[in-house]
Subunit: 397 residues, 2 copies
């Protein structure tokens, strides 16, 4: 479609020294005359999309799998993270011999619009203002993220994706893809997700946002200009969110009331309990890799997501006439996106006689189960993908 | 025991103009030679206990009910709050013709040690330093709170309480009373509580504490000296906690995805959704009446609570030989103190052949159900209390 041109990404996460140009993977730049029309009415231009791929597109261009990342994920699915050096977030799922095998599939993952790992977001330079966007970045939606991904898929010359797959916010994007571009999606795997963000989930996001904007170093969103960073507020936001990604049982099993490196209670405010120490660590490491304003924008995009509302209040109408094969997955102990949400989705798909499988995986590890070692989940996915591959005429593993 | 002497309470919540001496209700002061030995090893003195009573102690001194308040509660159970003017927190339960009727019972509620409504806490003057305690206030425990309450009960000349009753942290104090002073408790009603704080609950508390200490206006606990107040951090802490007091269903029913005073999404960071506006209001009103350091100390006391650990790891041993009659109440949709916690308590009580009733009230309103209109809950309580009153030789209602 077009070759990378001058970078629109100049902002920096203070603790993340990598400019967009320095990140591994691919970049796709769009100039002033190639704007992206956003749901809020703004034409975003110029903008950059950063993405990563694994494997090779076959001659038929029929083996492409688009992986959609969650709120704090990025395109580095199956390789060490360029900032933290930690394994890719879906390293267990993606790789040679794994469920999503680059020997068989051409795997693509795009950093979402509004993100902070190379794709244009609020930390990037607003060319009209000559300074980082901050809060002048336009509000984005899940549909906007998907519209941006379409540009990448077009650029790669792929008419129809073999599969779109993702968990949590990734699952929202899966649903948006299937609803908006049914003819371009052969199979769809929404995992641990929902067709609309619930009141409780909006509430938790609002706590996180308020924690960030309460930090004086947030500077009304202009912390990059001011040379400051709301690391304390962002860490608190992450801590609150992290609890919701786990289950009570998993926290109990992992930590219980175990004390952290001490024989008895300190009668003070140090991290007496392991669970406190763990949470503090989650908060402090998160701020090293994530932009606070991106956190505001992406949580807002999730809150806004309501697929039924975009179809006259009838979720089934989002999928009427679809030929896509769906595999809906939930986890018993996920209280952030409980099985009831997946069930509502399945009912809507059934109402339009869609081809849909639904599996609730028994596990006590909560929402994050889709990122963890869950062999039954992997077996279900492998079975579904192999069946779809056969129907699609792909060589079976 | 002793008459009120000079006040030890001089600190102020900036948004709460009431000094301890100006609060309605009763005060009981203890001087330097009447210290309270705390679990942390400190002898606290002087100190003040602020409490409220409703009704009249009968001639036998056998109709006293000690009501134990929760984390952010206080002694103003059934009258307008002296700072906010809102109805008492258990106004639905306590009053003429209600379940806890001052015509029949002598009702007592003591502001907990470490609190900020008249009982000595971190906002009060440290007489040794000549300035508010702040973080030099000693760490307190649920057992310390109960030891302080014993001073009030002794002062009132009551040997045996007819009933100790409370929800959430109030329920922890009920259990501590029953375990430590079985001969002084005829009946005990622990509601929506647990014999130990879970890892998940510690985690949520730690988020709240980190939100407070992340606020630069917290000033390492010395905000009163500095003339500042961590209202933003405390509001975030309250918002996060408040979500845990409700159920997903109650949030969905109350707010769903309804918009706040607007026809459509704003594509901005205003409170688009009613649930956001509601949470922000919860945060901002809370800081008008509560002290941030008290929040740190009292959450810590809850985290430390582990009744089994104080009895060799065997919860049943906390109640061995008890003659107290127990009524354990949980609520189906309470995910902060789920029914499983009450069930574990009931198993322990059964193991020592205690007289125990257990009721799980079906409701979708979450942990806060014990504060709300729940007729089945009230009927259960009335039945239990009437039965106990008969056995105790009190006139039945």
């Amino acid at each position: 479609m077009n070759a990378p041109s001058g970078s629109a990404a100049l902002g920096l996460i203070p603790a993340n020294p990598l400019l967009s140009d320095q990140l591994p993977g691919h970049r796709l730049d769009f100039s002033h005359d190639q704007p992206l029309r956003l749901d809020c009415g703004v034409d975003l231009a110029p903008f950059r999309l950063a993405y990563q791929t694994y494997g090779t597109l076959n001659a038929d261009r029929s083996n492409a799998v688009l992986i959609l990342h969650a709120l704090t994920g990025d395109q580095f699915v199956a390789e060490p993270h360029p900032v933290t050096g930690k394994p890719g977030w879906w390293d267990m799922m993606v790789g040679p011999g794994k469920t999503l095998d680059p020997e068989h599939y051409f795997l693509i993952c795009v950093n979402v619009l509004g993100g902070c790992m190379g794709t244009t977001g609020p930390r990037d330079l607003d060319p009209a203002a000559g300074r980082p966007y901050g809060l002048s970045f336009p509000m984005i939606t899940i549909a906007d993220m998907v519209r941006a991904q379409v540009r990448v898929i077009d650029h790669l010359g792929i008419d129809k994706l073999f599969c779109v797959i993702g968990g949590s916010m990734g699952g929202m994007q899966v649903l948006q893809w299937a609803a908006a571009y049914p003819e371009r999606v052969f199979a769809a795997v929404p995992i641990a997700t929902a067709a609309r963000h619930s009141a409780q989930n909006i509430a938790f996001h609002e706590v996180g946002r308020q924690a960030i904007v309460a930090d004086p170093d947030w500077c009304n969103g202009d912390y990059l200009v001011e040379g400051r960073y709301p690391h304390r507020g962002l860490a608190v936001a992450r801590m609150a969110a992290h609890i919701t990604y786990l289950s009570e049982m998993s926290l109990h099993r992992k930590f219980g009331r175990n004390l952290q490196n001490r024989p008895s209670l300190s009668f003070g405010f140090d991290a007496d309990f392991q669970v406190e120490s763990y949470l503090r660590h989650q908060g402090s490491t998160f701020v090293e890799r994530f932009d606070a304003n991106s956190y505001l924008y992406i949580t807002r995009a999730m809150d806004y997501f309501d697929l039924a509302a975009e179809h006259g209040g009838v979720l089934a109408d989002a999928f009427r006439g679809t030929a896509t094969r769906f595999c809906v997955v939930s986890f018993t102990s996920d209280w952030l996106f409980p099985t009831a949400e997946s069930r509502a989705l399945v009912h809507a798909l059934n109402a339009v006689a869609a081809n849909v499988s639904f599996v609730e995986i028994p596990t006590d590890r909560g929402h994050d189960s889709f990122l963890l070692e869950e062999p039954e989940f992997w077996a279900v996915l492998a079975g579904f993908l192999n069946g779809c591959a056969e129907h699609r005429g792909l060589q079976r593993r």
